[in-house]
Symmetry: C3
Subunit: 306 residues, 3 copies
């Protein structure tokens, strides 16, 4: 499918295909000199990174589809082989796909686009932070999505990421986990206006880590983000590790508006971190974080995005 | 073969196939509360694990078959990519398959069944312990098997597991190995009675690590076993690390009996650990361990196992 | 291509193939006993190693070719899964191949031969050391090669190896790299004499790490080499880690001469290490190393090498 080499039985019941998604970043930071006695961060003047190097394998038998996608790239520093997804899907119900396994449940507008279609090189920071709470790549998921002509809804129960209990895992797990994360996500989006000159997209996403994983330092969470390029640089934004976390949730709206060749789009998310009582017994404050982005695009040549 | 997508040259001399074995565990331990001042072990109330996620690649050229099977799952905590097997086979002699490479030489009755066919979710503990001595997954093996209509015999010289000298290996090796393990295994099994109502299966397995690997703590062995489910739980049964090991062997019989829909089966193994003299010169005692299991099955519906 | 299972669209524009290169070493060092109070090095009396276990995947679309080759073997101690190459090539210009991505740019005569064609089991030590400076497997490369009937020239800009910034990378990277290596290589070779009885091969290679990677100990280099067999043995030849390195270069000629069934061949390389000023300000000496090998072969039976 989609130009991937495919072999198929003559009656069309069985099929196998193998594809390739290869995103290679190379470049550097020019003129990064620390002031006075400050230390220089890790900003390479030249380096390279296999951002994504995925070989999607797909087996289909009638309405059942199995996907296994090894990833030979790495988010920020390649070198270790991992897994982008491994799941089993049933597409036998009308306009519905049910999924179980390691999956990327799509939450927020930017996360719902394929990494091949981003307007910018990377996702906006807030989108990356939000999806990391209980969605993101290779998240253990059980759920489904249903679509009609103008709208779309998806809901998944989600657990740990692939390798969440393995300290040398591709996604950086914790070998001391005694109880894994449980959570879930839901997203609904629609296109109430869809004419020749105007398009309006509205949506809402919510997700929660009801019970974060219980690892080396108890139930913790850390929200952090690099600059929106992945060339080995330090993380510039971080909450530090928040301990004694009871649950984490995030929710927010997404809006997109097209008028002829002009495309405006924005998202806002609020993140709430509820905390358990400390051992001593004092109750701890609930923490709130928020983030947004807005983007404007004008297509000069060619067919604008729908 | 067996429903795997396969491409083949027109004269049938060359063939390539790609398959998938995906076993995903998810669940948890309910009501595990430590007594008084005891510490809670690692028993997740909910977690998931890609128990096996194997993509068998098979190249065939006339009587030669090469198998390479990456494994994206993990025995107890997934997250690292490894290898289940990589071997070269010659099937040109009648009823005989010769093998060299990383292989799972089949020892004991339960280990000889495919993991797709187990009666229970996992192998019996004694079987897992015995196969780990000088067989198991991705063991370097040179040998063969021969089968006739009613019986079967196999013998392999075996070395280290894949990655046995690599501390960050998938199977957890030791970077300080100065001399790798050498050993071997033999199994013979037959079906002296095979009638409509009665089936009798008899067999015997023996294997030995003649010279265990010489690693960080010299030649050692540790026999241990988790509960028979793989969800991140602690190991409840262990000999601790036995040092100054000269050799380890295990042997025992297997019996299976079917009468109509009733299937009885059992195995018993004795494990002997001979020890070398300590540096001081005192001779050390030989250690013995044993284990068995018995299982009874009654097939209510469908075709019983042969 | 070359006997690999291949599927191709009917018009020949699209093609996909999957191959296998499997080199398994097994054996040991016999009679290695340390003298007096010396310590025994790591010389296994018996062990095995998957030297190379590569599954080359090739996608072709018209003049564009993408290669991705996972490697399940390891140079000296297998057990971790890595990447041999992942690159994109354009072959639309006459007798020219342009390449970008992780690649093995061919430098020196012995490195230019496929590992399937070596005269000996491994490359000569000097060749392995020289290629490691700024070429070798899975090196980030941008460049091309051009060939005519009697000569060949190639030039590549090269960066870090795959995983150079990842401490748990397959090739052993450094997680503290703040600035990655930049360098390049060039090789020209030709066959001025090519008759029935005589063949003369002449060539020259040069490569440089203009700016070695800036890691945990600053910009350093270490030239070392094991015996020319890969069975877990210690490295017997090493410069130790050279610190404060400004740049490293190597260059030298290659000569091959065939007279009927007799083949002579040799290479010589000089390695120069220029060093930056120390913090204190004293200038440090430039270091020079050199190495060569010569080989003579006589083909008794069969067709000699061209």
């Amino acid at each position: 499918p989609n130009g991937r080499p495919t072999i198929q039985s003559e009656d069309g019941k069985y099929a196998f295909s193998i594809g390739l998604a290869f995103h290679e970043d190379f470049g550097g930071f020019i003129g990064v000199t620390p002031r006075g006695s400050e230390q220089k961060g890790k900003f390479n003047s030249f380096t390279s990174n296999a951002r994504r190097l995925r070989v999607p394998l797909t087996w289909r038998y009638k309405d059942w589809v199995a996907n296994v996608t090894p990833d030979y790239g790495g988010s920020n520093n390649d070198g270790v082989v991992g897994l982008y997804e491994a799941n089993l899907n049933y597409a036998g119900l009308k306009n519905t796909i049910l999924t179980v396994g390691y999956f990327q449940p799509r939450v927020t507008e930017e996360d719902s686009e394929s990494s091949n279609d981003f307007e910018m090189m990377e996702r906006p920071g807030i989108t990356d932070i939000v999806r990391g709470i209980a969605a993101g790549d290779a998240r253990f998921s059980v759920g489904g999505l249903h679509y009609e002509k103008r709208w779309w809804v998806a809901a998944y129960f989600t657990g740990q990421q692939f390798g969440g209990r393995n300290a040398s895992g591709y996604y950086g797990g914790d070998g001391n986990v005694g109880d894994s994360q449980t959570g879930g996500m839901i997203r609904a989006a629609g296109r109430p206006v869809a004419t020749r000159n105007w398009d309006l997209h509205l949506g809402i996403s919510a997700l929660s880590s009801i019970k974060p994983g219980d690892g080396t330092s108890g139930r913790t969470i850390k929200l952090s983000q690099r600059p929106e390029v992945n060339l080995g640089e330090d993380s510039l934004l971080s909450t530090g590790t928040i301990t004694n976390v009871a649950n984490v949730w995030a929710a927010g709206p997404e809006v997109g508006l097209r008028w002829r060749n002009l495309l405006l789009k924005g998202e806002y998310y609020h993140i709430g971190v509820d905390r358990a009582r400390q051992n001593g017994g004092a109750s701890m404050p609930t923490l709130g974080f928020q983030g947004w982005y807005a983007a404007a695009n004008y297509t000069l040549f060619g067919k604008p995005r729908a």
